[in-house]
C-alpha cells in the first residue's frame, strides 16, 4: 500500500477498517508553511514547537523550548504578554490576527501573522504564518466585497442560484482554480451541485462521490472547524517537539490552522491532480450539510484575512441554507400543487378519468416526478406514457400488486427486491408508486422510476476503493481515476418524496370526488326524472280524461244533431257530420294509443317465467275466433322456450306482430312463422326470436321509419287503417325487456322482425328509467368503490350496468 509508506510512521496503517477511527485531530504535526507553538501558563513558556521553527524563525528549537514567548516576540499593539494574559479567560478570537515580530540575534526581525487560541485539551496555541504580499491589504476592501456578496446572497432566488453565486464569489476572492459546492445526501454520499472553474479543467458538476470519501470523524471535525487549508500536498509535515520527560497526550489540533491532514486525504487530492485545497463547512442544524471545496493545481497560501472572509461567507451561506432550501421545497411543492390543481380542474369537467389524466402526458409524469406511467382504466385498456415495462409485464405486475396494495397507495424505491420478476425491467421500474382507484374494477395508475444506476454519474468507481490485504484486512485505496463511473446500485431508484406521493393521493381523491359528485348528480338526475315522470303521468291523465271529455261531447252532439236534424240537413250536410264523427273517433283512438305508449314507458313490469307455447296457443285461438283472419296461419316449427318477462306485454308483442303480418298481406294464404334461435349474447341466457311473414314487405327506405309513432306507410283506407302506433308499442315493450327489435324485409315477398328475450331471471333486466348515458359509465364502473367507501349506491338498471357487473 503506497500511501502508508509516504507518511509518518504513526499514520502508515490507515486502511478502511480504521479509517473511521484515524485520529485526524491529533496528527502531532503541521503543514510547514508556518510555525506552531504551545505555550504554558502563567509565564507563556514555550513547551512544544514545530520542528520547522529554525527554518521560519531563524532560531534553533533548543533555544526556544522552555523559554518564555516574550523573549523572542513583540507585537505592534504593545506588550504581547499583557495582551495574551488579558484574553486567557476570554475569547482569543477578538485579538486574531496579531501582527508579530520575531527578533533574532543575527538577522533582521521577521514579521508574522499570529493566531492564538486555546485548544480543547487546554493548551494555549500560537500559530505563526509568514506575512505574504497580499496580507495586510485594506480590511475595508474585504468588507466592501463581502457586503456586496451578502446582498446578492440574500436576493438569490433559490438554492441553485445561491450556490452558483457563492462558488463564483469565492473563486474571485481566493483565486482558486476550482470552487465547488458539495452536498451530502441522506445516505452520506455526496454530489457536486455548483462549480466555478478554470475553463481548461474537467467539470465535476453533477458527479456523485461515495460516503467513504469523507470519513465520519472528518465530518465531526468539520462541524467544529469551519475552514481547512492544505497549501501544498507535497510539503513534508513538520512534527511537534517538546522537552516532556513523561508521555504526554497529543495536542488536540481541531482548531489549528496549520494542522497536517490525513495521508489518505493527501493521496486522494494527489490522485485528482490537486496541489492545494481549502474547504469551508456548510452547517445546518448542527449537521454538516455540505462543503465549499476549493482546488488549486499549484501550491497556494491563503492569508488569514482572506480565510476569515471565506469562513464568514461559509457561515452566511449556512444561515441562508434553511431559507433557500425551504424555498426550494416550496418551489417544488408549488410546482406539484399547480399540476395537482390543474388535474383537479380538468377532472371536474370530465366523466372518464383515464382519458382526462392521460391528456397531458408530461403533467402526469411531473405530478410525481416519474419517468414512466401506466394507467389501467378497468376495461383491459392500458395507457403507457414514458419509460415503462411492457404491457405483458405490467399485467403480471398488477397481479402481484393487487394482493399488496392495502391502503390504495403502494410506494417503493426497490421494486426488484420485493418483486423478483421486476428485475427484468429494473432499468425502467426500480421505483414504483402505485395508486388504486378501484381494485374491484381493476383501475390503477402506476408511476415508475428508473434504476439509480442509470442516472448517477460517479466521480470514480466507488467499488474500487478497497482491497483485501494478505492479513485479511481491507485497505483503503484512494480513487485512482476520476473518469465518470456508474455505481452499481442494483434495483434502486431515487426515493419518492412525500410531496410526490401526496400528488398521487390528491389525484386519487380528485378522481373519487368526481365519482361521488357524479353519484350525486345522477341522484339529482333521477329525482328530476322521477318528477318528469310524474308530470308525464299527469299529462297522460289529462290526455285520457280532460282531452277526451270534450272530444266525446263533440262526438255525441254531432250524433244528436244528425239524429234530430238529419233530414233537415239533407245529404251533403249529413255526410259532413258523418265525417266529423269519423274524425272524432280517429282522434280518440290516437289519444288512446298515445296514452298506452306513454304508460308503457313507466309502468312497472311484472316479470315472470312465461311458457311461450301456451302463450302462443292463446294468441292462435284469439286469431282463430276472428273471422277477419280467415286464410291466415300461425306457423310454429319448433317448440318455443320459456322466457322471462311481463306476460301481458309479451303477448302484445306477438299479437301485434302477427296481426301486422296478416294485415299487410295480399296473399290468398297468409302465414306468419314464429320461431327462435339460441343467442350468443349474454352467455346464452337470451334467445333470439323472429316472426316471418309472406306479406307485402317494406321498402328499404321505410325500414327505419316503421317504428316511428303514428307513422303509416299506407293510406288510411288501405290494409284496415290503424293508428300507426302498433310497432312503436312493440318496440317499446322489447326495449323495456332490455332488448332491441330489428326488421329485415324484401319488398313484395315478406318481412322478418327479430328480437331477443331473456330466458333467465336477471339475464337482462328491464330499465325502470331511460337514463342519459353520460356519466353513468363512470358511476357504474366505480360503484363498488363507492360501496367500499361505505356509500350506498343506487345502481340504475340498464343493460350496460349488467355488462359491467358481469
Amino acid at each position: 500500500m503506497q500511501i502508508a509508506k509516504t507518511q509518518l510512521d504513526r499514520l502508515d496503517t490507515v486502511n478502511l477498517t480504521n479509517c473511521d477511527r484515524e485520529p485526524i485531530h491529533t496528527p502531532n504535526c503541521i503543514q510547514p508553511q508556518g510555525v506552531l507553538l504551545v505555550l504554558a501558563e502563567p509565564d507563556l513558556r514555550i513547551v512544544q514547537i514545530s520542528e520547522n521553527a529554525p527554518d521560519i524563525l531563524g532560531i534553533a528549537v533548543a533555544d526556544l523550548l522552555d523559554r518564555p514567548l516574550g523573549d523572542f516576540i513583540s507585537s505592534d499593539r504593545g506588550d504581547l504578554m499583557q495582551i495574551i494574559r488579558g484574553c486567557l479567560e476570554h475569547n482569543f478570537e477578538n485579538i486574531n490576527p496579531l501582527s508579530l515580530t520575531v527578533a533574532t540575534a543575527h538577522e533582521a526581525p521577521r514579521n508574522f501573522n499570529g493566531i492564538i487560541h486555546r485548544a480543547p485539551s487546554g493548551e494555549i496555541v500560537l500559530e505563526l504564518e509568514i506575512l505574504t504580499a497580499e496580507t495586510g491589504e485594506d480590511f475595508f476592501q474585504f468588507y466592501r466585497q463581502i457586503k456586496a456578496t451578502l446582498a446578492k446572497m440574500q436576493t438569490a432566488e433559490n438554492l441553485a442560484a445561491l450556490c452558483d453565486l457563492v462558488v463564483n464569489e469565492m473563486r474571485v476572492i481566493t483565486g482558486f482554480d476550482r470552487v465547488m459546492i458539495y452536498r451530502f445526501n441522506e445516505d452520506g454520499h455526496g454530489n457536486v451541485i455548483a462549480e466555478s472553474k478554470k475553463d481548461n479543467l474537467d467539470a465535476f458538476l453533477g458527479m456523485h462521490f461515495p460516503a467513504s470519501d469523507i470519513p465520519k470523524q472528518a465530518k465531526q471535525l468539520y462541524t467544529l472547524n469551519w475552514l481547512r487549508l492544505i497549501s501544498h500536498v507535497n510539503s513534508e509535515p513538520s512534527r511537534l517537539v517538546s522537552n516532556y520527560k513523561n508521555p504526554h497526550p497529543p495536542l488536540d489540533m481541531s482548531y489549528c490552522c496549520l494542522r497536517a491532514v490525513s495521508p489518505a486525504h493527501i493521496q486522494y487530492l494527489k490522485n485528482m491532480g490537486v496541489t492545494a485545497s481549502m474547504s469551508i463547512s456548510l452547517i445546518q442544524k448542527q449537521q454538516l450539510w455540505g462543503l465549499i471545496a476549493c482546488h488549486h493545481h499549484t501550491p497556494k497560501l491563503v492569508s488569514y484575512e482572506i480565510r476569515t472572509v471565506c469562513e464568514f461567507l461559509g457561515q452566511l451561506m449556512s444561515t441562508e441554507l434553511a431559507t433557500k432550501e425551504n424555498n426550494e421545497n416550496l418551489d417544488y411543492k408549488l410546482h406539484l400543487k399547480t399540476i395537482q390543481s390543474q388535474f383537479v380542474d380538468r377532472l371536474t369537467k370530465s366523466t372518464d378519468f383515464a382519458t382526462e389524466i392521460t391528456a397531458d402526458k408530461e403533467a402526469l409524469l411531473a405530478l410525481t416526478g416519474a419517468s414512466g406511467v401506466a394507467v389501467f382504466d378497468g376495461d383491459d385498456n392500458i395507457v403507457l406514457i414514458g419509460e415503462t415495462p411492457t404491457e405483458v409485464a405490467l399485467k403480471s405486475l398488477l397481479n402481484w400488486l393487487s394482493d399488496r396494495i392495502e391502503q390504495d397507495i403502494f410506494v417503493t424505491d426497490t421494486l426488484p427486491s420485493l418483486c423478483p420478476v421486476a428485475d427484468e425491467y429494473k432499468n425502467v421500474a426500480s421505483g414504483l408508486l402505485a395508486m388504486a382507484i378501484s381494485k374491484a374494477q381493476n383501475q390503477y395508475v402506476l408511476w415508475f422510476r428508473p434504476e439509480l444506476l442509470q442516472t448517477v454519474t460517479w466521480g470514480g468507481n466507488p467499488d474500487y476503493l478497497t482491497q483485501v490485504e494478505e492479513d485479511g484486512s481491507l485497505t483503503l485505496f484512494p480513487r485512482a481515476s476520476f473518469a465518470a463511473w456508474q455505481e452499481i446500485v442494483q434495483g434502486n431508484s431515487n426515493p419518492w418524496l412525500s410531496d410526490e406521493v401526496e400528488g398521487a393521493i390528491k389525484l386519487r381523491r380528485a378522481i373519487i370526488d368526481i365519482v361521488f359528485r357524479r353519484a350525486g348528480e345522477l341522484t339529482n338526475m333521477n329525482l328530476e326524472l322521477e318528477s318528469i315522470n310524474s308530470e308525464l303521468d299527469a299529462f297522460a291523465y289529462i290526455a285520457s280524461h280532460d282531452l277526451k271529455e270534450p272530444l266525446r261531447g263533440i262526438h255525441n252532439y254531432a250524433t244528436f244533431l244528425l239524429d234530430d236534424y238529419g233530414e233537415a240537413l239533407q245529404g251533403d250536410g249529413a255526410e259532413k257530420l258523418q265525417t266529423l264523427l269519423r274524425l272524432t273517433t280517429r282522434m280518440e283512438s290516437l289519444i288512446e294509443s298515445l296514452l298506452k305508449f306513454s304508460r308503457l314507458g313507466r309502468q312497472e313490469l311484472r316479470m315472470n317465467s312465461i311458457d311461450l307455447n301456451s302463450l302462443l296457443e292463446n294468441v292462435t285461438e284469439l286469431f282463430g275466433m276472428n273471422p277477419e283472419w280467415e286464410n291466415c296461419t300461425i306457423r310454429i316449427p319448433r317448440p318455443l322456450p320459456t322466457v322471462f318477462g311481463d306476460r301481458i306485454l309479451i303477448e302484445e308483442i306477438f299479437t301485434n306482430l302477427i296481426s301486422n303480418a296478416f294485415k299487410y298481406n295480399n296473399q290468398p294464404e297468409k302465414w306468419a312463422e314464429v320461431s327462435w334461435i339460441e343467442s350468443s349474447r349474454h352467455n346464452h341466457r337470451c334467445v333470439n326470436f323472429y316472426i316471418r311473414d309472406n306479406g307485402i314487405g317494406i321498402r328499404e327506405k321505410h325500414l327505419d321509419s316503421v317504428f316511428r309513432i303514428f307513422k303509416r306507410l299506407h293510406a288510411p283506407s288501405k290494409y284496415g287503417g290503424g293508428t300507426g302506433a302498433g310497432l312503436t308499442i312493440v318496440k317499446k315493450i322489447i326495449e323495456r325487456h332490455g332488448s332491441k327489435i330489428q326488421v329485415e324485409s324484401t319488398f313484395g315477398k315478406g318481412s322478418t322482425f327479430s328480437f331477443t328475450l331473456p330466458i333467465q331471471k336477471g339475464a337482462s333486466p328491464p330499465s325502470p328509467l331511460s337514463l342519459a348515458d353520460r356519466g353513468s359509465k363512470m358511476l357504474f364502473s366505480c360503484s363498488p368503490l363507492l360501496q367500499e367507501e361505505g356509500l350506498g349506491v343506487r345502481v340504475l338498471e340498464t343493460s350496460s350496468v349488467i355488462n359491467i357487473k358481469k
Partner: protein, 198 residues
C-alpha cells in the same frame, strides 16, 4: 242546493221548464222531453226512491238523460233522478250538512258517480261514503271516461260497487246505460228494497 228556490238552478240542471241553450245553428233546444223521472229539486218527491247522479259535465249529463229516454224500464219504474254538479254539495246532501241541514228526506238508493269533479273528487266521495256506517250500504256506480287501471283499482279499493266506462259514441252509451239500468234497477235487489212501494 238549497231549500230556497233562488238557488236551485245552481245544482239542478236542467231545471224543469227551463231551456238550455245549445249553440248549434243558433237554435234553442228543449230538454223537456227527455227529463222523465228527473227531479228538479230534492224536495220534489219524497215518496219515490231517489237515484243520485253526480256529474259535472252538462254535455255528458245531457247525453245520459237523452239516452235514457228510450229506455222502457224507466217509464215503468218509480225511480227519480237528482243531479249534483260538484263533490262538496254532494257530500252536504248525503251528510245533511250546510244547506241540507234540516232536510228530512230518505237517502238516495243508488249513487251514479263521475270521477273527476270540481272540488271534492269522486274518489274521495267513495272513500267518505264507504267509511260512514249509515251511508256505506248505498251502492256506488262509477261512470268514468278513465280506463286507467289505477283509477279502476282505487275506486274498488275504496269500496265502489261497480265501475263502468263511458264509451265513445251515443249508441254505445245507450247500450251501456241500458245494461246498467237493467242490472241495477231490474235484476239487482238494492238495500232500499221494501222501503218504497214498487
Amino acid at each position: 242546493m238549497i231549500l230556497h228556490k233562488t238557488k236551485q238552478a245552481s245544482s239542478c240542471l236542467p231545471t224543469k221548464g227551463e231551456k238550455i241553450k245549445i249553440p248549434i245553428q243558433n237554435t234553442t233546444y228543449s230538454m223537456e222531453s227527455y227529463t222523465q223521472g228527473l227531479l228538479t229539486s230534492h224536495l220534489d218527491d219524497l215518496a219515490h226512491p231517489v237515484v243520485m247522479i253526480i256529474e259535472d259535465s252538462d254535455e255528458d249529463f245531457y247525453t245520459f238523460t237523452r239516452v235514457t229516454q228510450n229506455l222502457d224500464i224507466l217509464k215503468r219504474s218509480l225511480y227519480k233522478f237528482l243531479r249534483f254538479k260538484d263533490g262538496d254539495e254532494s257530500l252536504d246532501y248525503l251528510f245533511r250538512e250546510g244547506d241540507y241541514q234540516s232536510l228530512n228526506a230518505p237517502l238516495p238508493v243508488v249513487i251514479l258517480l263521475d270521477l273527476n269533479l270540481p272540488g271534492t273528487d269522486g274518489r274521495d266521495i267513495i272513500k267518505k261514503v264507504k267509511q260512514t256506517p249509515h251511508l256505506q250500504m248505498i251502492p256506488i256506480i262509477v261512470l268514468s271516461t278513465s280506463s286507467s287501471h289505477i283509477d279502476i283499482q282505487t275506486c274498488y279499493q275504496y269500496g265502489a260497487n261497480c265501475y263502468m266506462l263511458k264509451p265513445m259514441g251515443v249508441l254505445e252509451m245507450q247500450k251501456t246505460v241500458q245494461i246498467l239500468f237493467e242490472h241495477w234497477f231490474q235484476l239487482a235487489l238494492l238495500p232500499s228494497y221494501g222501503q218504497f212501494i214498487v
